[in-house]
Subunit: 432 residues, 2 copies
Amino acid sequence: MTIQDMAKAAKSASVLLAAQKTQRKNAALKQIAEALLTHKEAIIQANQQDFDKAQVNELAAPLLKRLKFDSAKIEDVCQGIESLIQLKDPSGQTLSTTELDENLELYRVTCPIGVIGVIFESRPDALVQISTLCLKSGNAVMLKGGSEAACTNRILTKIINQASLEVGIPAGWIQLLETREDVADILGLDDVIDLIIPRGSNEFVKYIMDNTNIAVLGHADGICHVFVENEANLDMAVRIAVDSKCQYVAVCNAAETLLVDRDIAATFLPRVQAALSEKGTEIRGCAETCKLIKAIPAQDQDWSTEYLDMILSIKIVDGLQEAINFVNQYGSGHTDCIVTQNKEKAAFFMDLVDAGNVFWNCSTRFSDGFRYGLGAEVGISTNKIHARGPVGLEGLVIYKWKMIGNGQTVTDYCGNHAKPFTHKDMNKDCPL
Amino acid sequence: MTIQDMAKAAKSASVLLAAQKTQRKNAALKQIAEALLTHKEAIIQANQQDFDKAQVNELAAPLLKRLKFDSAKIEDVCQGIESLIQLKDPSGQTLSTTELDENLELYRVTCPIGVIGVIFESRPDALVQISTLCLKSGNAVMLKGGSEAACTNRILTKIINQASLEVGIPAGWIQLLETREDVADILGLDDVIDLIIPRGSNEFVKYIMDNTNIAVLGHADGICHVFVENEANLDMAVRIAVDSKCQYVAVCNAAETLLVDRDIAATFLPRVQAALSEKGTEIRGCAETCKLIKAIPAQDQDWSTEYLDMILSIKIVDGLQEAINFVNQYGSGHTDCIVTQNKEKAAFFMDLVDAGNVFWNCSTRFSDGFRYGLGAEVGISTNKIHARGPVGLEGLVIYKWKMIGNGQTVTDYCGNHAKPFTHKDMNKDCPL
């Protein structure tokens, strides 16, 4: 099958999938979880093949770790599927109902987007998570995983496909791509694929974003700031700064830059430095910071670097407005926090900082779909349209306008004897 | 000022505009409407200059008509502004509120998108409509109008800008581009412009869509279908077919193709032909159609042609599924209608047809923001993400996640003694 044939099959399936009832989609999810457990040994065996090959190819240790798909990980993804079954179907929800006239009613109803392209690196659990999220929301999916995980991805796709067919889900909804060239091919399929979700390193996501006309949901950089304003509770500010930087460094919602109001810098910096040093954090400071505490002088590029490491850059700013300007210039629109006891200043910061997540007096590390209570997370988006910040199932749906009449024509509502529209909001779900 | 400088100014203004209260934005709209009336003579004079030049350049009659911006049109746009003032501010609305824990609350709040790029052809009223829609929703705007309307656009922008500054709207929010090269330039400004709205001909919109990485809201083609199913009320079907095609032909929501179920074709086609002929409609039929009624044989390209004229293509299909396949293959995802008395078939059609607007037993011509009761219309979108179908003010906003805590760190919610999240839905607006 060529990529074009696979895409065509996914497109056809997506149309039928849009009409599947919640009950059947949940039955398919249950069947998939059961099948993954039933075929656990075969999955582990396939994964071992990938793993052995990766070791021969001297894959780096963190990549090897991500590649591993053992019994515990299989049970984890099955638990994930169980939670997904419990979530509300994001499709088929009536968003608004308007009576235009007697027996002429307009409904805005959520529906699947269509065909989702997902490109991810070595973690095979991503394949299960994303494909089941797509199924729950009624979307077909074209998947491209890392070539290191080829055997694992192949068996997982086969099991998921087979289990879904058994309960009557239309064939073709899940398609696995295998080669590097396939990625270039799907990036050009803007007539079939409606949305691309890339999961992986910054460079990888950036490459995808730069090389397709298809809408991309995701984020490249995560350059998050904590701003300690001069009316901050300094104990709280130390706690939030340390947690935002050190609680887990290799993630997009960890802080990379601490902004400190000049008025409190001399008091605050030695305190935060002591707490950060205890965690082993290297500090790179602006010239003023370096005068107040011991720090490595920051270079210009530090302000736009996502360290993903125990390194924090610190910059002294001249009040709220300069902090906002700095965040908007160097931030990546991911998550930025202000620490202050002043509500007006917090509101001003949160209105003016152009980021998906703006926090007052809490750690940037809270910026996450599971912590937000979204259940399953598709990813974190720094887009400015469609979906922003942590994106749950609702990021995989759009809406249709459904109008129901009994023969009305526009002619009747035009000209000298035009019937008027009633435009009455109604509290009523779409009957179709 | 270079395009880059103008874009920078728009970006800076957009940040401040996001924090403007509804009251001030409405005051600015009021001031703009008054100023347009006050300077009516100067506007008409500037428009006359454009008009004289266009006549010398032998601009086509329909373009000349669109270029004309006279007293009546000025009063129209001012009335439009008055209605806009009455509409709810789409920004600052709390979409959801979740308690994560005591005193740790998460709000999803609508906010402006940022900088909107609008490219439109010769109608100067589009400049007023779009810029006031952007102002109401809190977005900065970069405008590029047709060069034929250069004088008119210049004076309108000056008046709008001046009037908004008088009530304290941040300078720089409205920027007018003047040359053709400017368009190519703004299509490349994906670091500044967050959304492009092109208004104009199909070819024009398609050109924009093909030449930018910025998200585009709009539609190129409007190939709409009416499908007369074999359980249709045939009187109703004739009325709907005629209205969908003939009520006004030069618009995107007019029908271009009529699909007729084979079972009723022999009865229905002569009746619809009689009604269409009365309006002067040329019929291009498939081979089967041509056997039943007098029609010009349709060529393959007829099925994907937006006539925008008194021409209708007719195709006989073998039931509901073939009709759906045909619509999904040749339609443009704009508006498609089924005429039937069978509710299940209507529901199936509306679920499976992949279009922004799917209608049961009413004319495709209803597909319009004003008829939908949206108030102002930004445009009609055939996108699959963000906003679909007629788009009102809500298409110009996105949301931010605002979290308010009192010093919480993620460390407290991790590990062996992890505090649990409450994840309680709350019925409460964001206090900031």
